[in-house]
């Protein structure tokens, strides 16, 4: 029985994210966890996935463990095409061709806006000031958030990361909720899910506020609500998300050779 399987919360998050990705899609992954989730999907149920990195590396699968970056040798050893940022993020994402992207977040809010720029002590205020803790910045995530048909946000589920409103919008979700995203005429549709170490949140139709859609075998509604910084509502169709199967776990670990997801 799968209940006997030993797996980490990070592995569950990666598998749940991978399950969102469908065979044949054109997909873009960032470095780290999102790349593992994407290549897991390819190894597991989406053999015809057309994947790319924002660095313009196409047709590659990682060699020797988790790639150090979107451009490194571990992702450059069996590529079928090397191009550029303008090609990957522009011609294939900003154009509206890309089906799905996966991005990470330091902080996410109830409308799926993502902050990866910095942590301030309170609001920034009208005068822009340096963050108390500087984070990596938007990278390609802003471009994926604006251009991909849908995207998935992967994030560790902790109260400090789940805010009513992010301090700084690095990558736009549904902004102020409702149809507020529409005023910017983005070709991309917005975030389809926030997948965490505790469960899955999806946007409620109409309000575009994220509500709880599923919990994992090791978590539950109360734990998730307690770890969310806004009054998280529970969707009427919320349910227990199936545990990883032995096959899923084996396929994930083939991709995660160095055990990056098993450390926590």
């Amino acid at each position: 029985m799968s209940a006997a399987l030993d797996y980490s919360r990070q592995e569950m998050m990666a598998i749940a994210t991978g399950r969102e990705i469908r065979d044949g899609e054109l997909a873009i992954f960032g470095v780290g966890l999102s790349m593992l989730a994407g290549f897991f999907a390819q190894a597991n149920h989406a053999p015809n996935l057309r994947s790319m990195t924002e660095g313009g590396v196409y047709g590659a699968t990682p060699v020797g463990g988790l790639p150090w970056g979107i451009e490194c040798n571990r992702i450059s050893s069996n590529a079928t095409s090397f191009t550029s940022a303008l090609d990957a993020l522009g011609f294939l994402v900003a154009s509206g061709r890309c089906d799905v992207g996966v991005i990470g977040a330091a902080q996410v809010d109830k409308h799926g806006n993502v902050n990866t720029t910095g942590i301030w002590d309170g609001e920034i205020g009208p005068h822009y000031r340096p963050p108390k803790t500087r984070l990596p910045g938007a990278g390609g995530a802003n471009d994926i958030a604006c251009g991909a048909k849908r995207y998935i946000i992967m994030v560790t589920h902790e109260p400090k990361r789940f805010a009513e409103r992010v301090t700084y919008v690095s990558s736009p979700g549904y902004l102020d909720g409702g149809d507020s995203r529409a005023r910017h005429h983005f070709v991309g549709g917005g975030p389809s899910a926030i997948i965490t170490t505790l469960g899955i949140l999806r946007p409620e139709p109409g309000t575009n506020e994220f509500v709880l859609n599923g919990w994992f075998a090791f978590s539950g509604i109360e734990e998730i609500r307690a770890n969310t910084g806004w009054n998280l509502r529970v969707s009427p169709d919320a349910r227990l998300i199936p545990e990883p199967t032995a096959e899923e776990l084996a396929n994930l670990r083939k991709v995660d050779q160095t055990g990056a997801l098993r450390k926590k």
Partner: protein, 330 residues
């Protein structure tokens, strides 16, 4: 055409100045970047740089840690799997460096706009977020109107953003192979080196290897940077170290982590500058610093087969020395 091969120190002397807008090779955070040129800028005590880095790399991390940068524009400001860039982070958090945030596509678009001499580049990204509304260069302009101003599409009447084109004073671009006049082949993703090479007012190539011009004529489709836009060529193997260069060498994982940890503090940075910036005299002593055995091991990575089609044209060091630009050979 005559050779443009000059030494690293000569290239920095000739093309760098305090306060310049300096772009590195459309920096890749852990990959191809002219990290060695940043070391040389510090050896020559340059300061007050306005850094244009598509992404932060160990070069910007080092320059920022050493206090040589007052302004920077970036799409991504960390080191991917190696984490936050401690030197850059410290300079931003203590207010010594103003970091203007963009995204990875908008930086490439701004190079493209500079290359084409466009007045602005229409932006369908970065709008609606704080990348548009917040400016570190104009902190009181909120919501910012000077950074990515709104512009109306004359065809549809819809509002989008206007990105400011980039025309850096100098770009030091790391390439895998170059011939002595500056025709270059890049293995791995070119990221935005193609656009940057046309946007920058001056381009210096830092090449891992120098090839016979016959190599260039064999693969002209792969020559994405032609010599007519290049001022000078510097031959410097392991120019991206501790970062990697596809086909040439892998990332030096332990030095990546060691360097980033050192740059987290002023004392660590001072020690790093002593040991890994000011300590070598020439290419030979630089390679000794990396460690010959380590350099050899790093050269035998999983992507080294990418270099195979070009190996027969790579010139040995003694031949490269004989090809130095005439005014220096004298």
């Amino acid at each position: 055409m005559t050779s443009k091969l000059i030494s690293l120190s000569e290239a920095a002397r000739r093309f760098a100045w305090d306060g310049m807008q300096y772009a590195s090779g459309a920096a890749l955070p852990v990959g191809s970047d002219a990290v060695i040129f940043g070391r040389e800028l510090l050896r020559q005590k340059h300061k007050d740089l306005h850094a244009i880095f598509h992404c932060n790399s160990q070069q910007l991390n080092l320059l920022a840690a050493a206090g040589a940068v007052t302004k920077a524009e970036c799409g991504f400001s960390a080191l991917e799997v190696f984490g936050f860039a401690n030197g850059l982070r410290r300079a931003v958090e203590n207010g010594q460096l103003a970091l203007e945030d963009y995204s990875n596509l908008s930086m490439a678009l701004r190079f493209l706009g500079g290359a084409l001499n466009w007045p602005f580049v229409p932006a369908t990204v970065n709008i609606g977020s704080d990348l548009q509304d917040r400016s570190a260069f104009a902190p009181d302009d909120y919501p910012a109107r000077s950074k990515i101003p709104a512009v109306v599409d004359p065809f549809t009447g819809r509002e989008f953003g206007a990105l400011k084109p980039l025309r850096p004073d100098l770009a030091a671009i790391q390439v895998t192979l170059a011939d002595p006049t500056g025709n270059a082949i890049m293995l791995g993703t070119e990221w935005s080196r193609y656009e940057l090479s046309r946007a920058a007012k001056k381009v210096v190539l830092i090449a891992d290897a120098i090839v016979d011009p016959a190599c260039i004529r064999q693969f002209p489709n792969l020559v994405r940077i032609p010599d007519i836009i290049v001022e000078a060529v510097v031959h410097w193997p392991f120019a991206a170290w501790p970062q990697g260069s596809p086909g040439m060498y892998d990332i030096d994982e332990s030095h990546m982590a060691f360097m980033n940890m050192a740059l987290a503090t002023e004392e660590g940075t001072a020690a790093y500058l002593r040991e890994f910036v000011e300590s070598y005299d020439d290419l030979d002593s630089y390679l000794d610093l990396i460690g010959r055995d380590k350099a050899k091991a790093l050269s035998q990575g999983s992507s080294s087969f990418l270099l195979d089609p070009y190996r027969r044209w790579i010139l040995p060091p003694e031949d490269v020395a004989g090809l130095a630009a005439p005014e220096l050979a004298a």
